[in-house]
């Protein structure tokens, strides 16, 4: 930086290396460092003058004169005054920086987590700048290997007072979720807490517990706009089955709870009303806009799966791409009027499995081992998993015994899938078309068939000239 002195001569501000060593030492000395320092030429003129403007780290202004010149006492005094002013300004700037760091650290600590489990994305827009937080919040809490608590809430008001209340409610809600008694119980307990916090009354909260393996979602809403569930087939629904009053308003013994299933590729959207409210517009219009955006994004993400274009599709399948899409579709030209929090979960589902065995008795054990591992990985509870293993085993035993009559060169294939609490299997043999008289379907009677029907919810047997196919369905109940 270069400026001019009163005589029109250039005065350069120098880097540390360009200041004379003696002056540097003097300015850096804690005892001698105060006051003005000069670099005399021995003939009444000076090459430069300097003074400290900051202590930690030592910071000084040094003016170099070329050629050396006489600096009268009044100029030296003015220089010192100037340095004093600069020093005060520096100190204020540093203090302000420190306060800003404190404020940001505190703000970020009361916001939701920055790192999310796979499948989740969040967006947060405070209405009042330069604050980074407002009265809205989101939270994502890992409860177990497969259980994740998700929360979106909205405190009354905006700005700092609302943010202070929000931070307390978020922490309390997180602690209650960790007890994992269910979203209805979390909100019921949060009621009592909200009554203790001035300004927390009338906060609205949507709380859900997502089973990431099975796709089962339990939820409860304290006066909050309904979450949106969009499916890969384009269908969508509003989660409005467990509505109750905002926090701290009407005393309730227990808040209601409802449950839904996510299918493979389904998207769950939780949001605060800032996302859907626009001045001069009915609330329903904004909700419809958000539903349309998340439904379109869900279908688009599912489409990339079907095309199998992995490099392109991977990004589009990410929940953050869906979140961007929802923001783009709902953001007014003038920006959001209110705080906005949105939280998205995209359910990947479990890939089906196919196991083919040779038609002989000792293969049954390998079949059970492979299907058993898949059932375990798919998070199917022990009861339905065991029943399915028995039923599939009966269907295979029948195929080996009757369709193939123990011809080990033939094969039986088992397909299995689980989606939205429905465990399904198809056991197919292709044996009978060579020997149409074998009538494999007729073999499925007696005890084996009775066991399948007792253990399964649906048993359908299609026997034809191309073989027999046994379709088995077992419904899994939410927490079972």
């Amino acid at each position: 930086m270069v400026s001019c002195d009163g005589n029109g001569q250039a005065v350069a501000l120098l880097g540390r290396g360009e200041v004379p060593d003696a002056a540097c030492r003097a300015l850096g000395d804690p005892v001698r460092g105060h006051g003005i320092h000069v670099d005399p030429d021995g003939a009444g003129r000076v090459h430069g003058i300097g003074a400290l403007v900051g202590a930690l780290p030592p910071t000084a202004i040094w003016l170099r004169f070329e050629p050396a010149r006489h600096v009268p006492a009044i100029d030296r005094a003015q220089f010192l005054t100037l340095c004093g002013t600069v020093s005060q300004a520096l100190q204020r700037a540093k203090a302000s920086d420190a306060q800003r760091t404190v404020a940001l650290t505190l703000q970020r600590s009361i916001l939701g987590p920055a790192e999310l489990p796979a499948g989740f994305a969040v967006r947060y827009e405070p209405a009042v700048r330069p604050l980074e937080v407002g009265g809205d919040w989101y939270d994502v809490v890992r409860l177990s290997d497969r259980g994740v608590g998700v929360v979106v809430g909205d405190c009354v008001g905006r700005g700092l007072p609302a943010a202070a209340v929000m931070g307390q409610l978020r922490s309390a809600c997180r602690a209650l979720l960790l007890q994992a008694k269910g979203p209805g119980a979390v909100l019921t307990a949060l009621d009592g807490f909200a009554r203790l916090i001035p300004g927390a009354r009338c906060t609205t909260v949507f709380c859900a517990i997502v089973d990431k393996v099975s796709g089962h979602v339990r939820y409860s809403s304290a006066g909050h706009p309904p979450a949106v569930l969009a499916h890969a087939d384009g269908g969508s629904e509003l989660l409005n089955g467990a509505q109750s009053f905002p926090l701290g308003t009407v005393p309730l013994d227990i808040r209601p709870e409802d449950a839904v299933w996510l299918h493979a590729g389904s998207t769950l959207l939780l949001y605060t009303d800032g996302l859907v409210e626009r001045r001069g517009e009915r609330l329903g219009t904004g909700v419809a806009r958000a539903v349309a955006a998340v439904a379109a994004g869900t279908v688009a993400a599912a489409g990339t799966v079907a095309l199998g274009t992995a490099p392109v599709g991977t990004a589009a399948r990410q929940p953050s791409a869906l979140a961007n899409r929802v923001v783009a579709a709902t953001l007014p030209d003038t920006g959001y009027d209110d705080d906005v929090a949105l939280l998205i979960y995209r359910h990947p589902g479990v890939a089906p499995v196919a196991v083919t065995i040779a038609a002989e008795a000792r293969e049954l054990r390998r079949l059970r081992a492979e299907v058993g591992r898949w059932l375990d990985a798919a998070g199917v509870p022990a009861g339905p998993a065991g029943a399915m293993l028995v039923a599939v085993g009966e269907a295979c035993t029948n195929a080996i015994e009757h369709a193939y009559q123990f011809d080990a060169d033939r094969q039986v294939t088992v397909w299995m899938s689980v989606d939205a609490g429905r465990l399904e299997a198809v056991v197919r043999d292709t044996g009978s078309w060579v020997e149409p008289l074998a009538q494999p379907a007729l073999g499925l009677r007696g005890r084996g068939r009775m066991m399948m029907e007792a253990l399964m919810d649906v048993v359908t047997i299609d026997g034809g000239p191309l073989g027999t196919s046994v379709h088995l369905v077992k419904e899994i109940h939410g927490d079972g």
């Binding site: 054990r365 059970r368 022990a382 065991g386 293993l389 085993g393 009966e394 005890r447 009775m450 253990l455």
Partner: protein, 102 residues
């Protein structure tokens, strides 16, 4: 999924592992080898049992057969849905003996 074994010891046969079409004949041999009545078959360590195993057990059900089971296991479920728990005397390994035929 342990390997199958059926070990007779006096009137008691302890069965571990999976009983299916492949191992049911071995279960039948073990029951034949058991000495004395009533026959007690301990299925509390059995991990799997299908209709082939149920058929073997039914053949011994008329003779005061006693089954030792683990409650809530898939083996117990299979014996319930096939009616074998009504045709034999049932004792649960983790609970008290049940005297009447349930």
């Amino acid at each position: 999924m342990d390997s199958f074994s059926a070990t007779p010891h006096g009137n008691r046969v302890t069965v571990t592992g999976d009983v299916d079409m492949a191992t049911a004949p071995m279960l039948r041999e073990a029951l034949q080898a058991a000495d004395g009545r009533p026959l007690i078959v301990d299925l509390s360590g059995t991990s799997f049992l299908d209709s082939a195993g149920v058929a073997v057990l039914f053949d011994y059900a008329g003779d005061g057969l006693e089954l030792v089971l683990t409650p809530d296991s898939v083996v117990t479920l299979v014996l319930e849905v096939t009616g074998l728990t009504k045709a034999a005397r049932i004792r649960y390994s983790a609970g008290p003996a049940l005297d009447d035929h349930q």
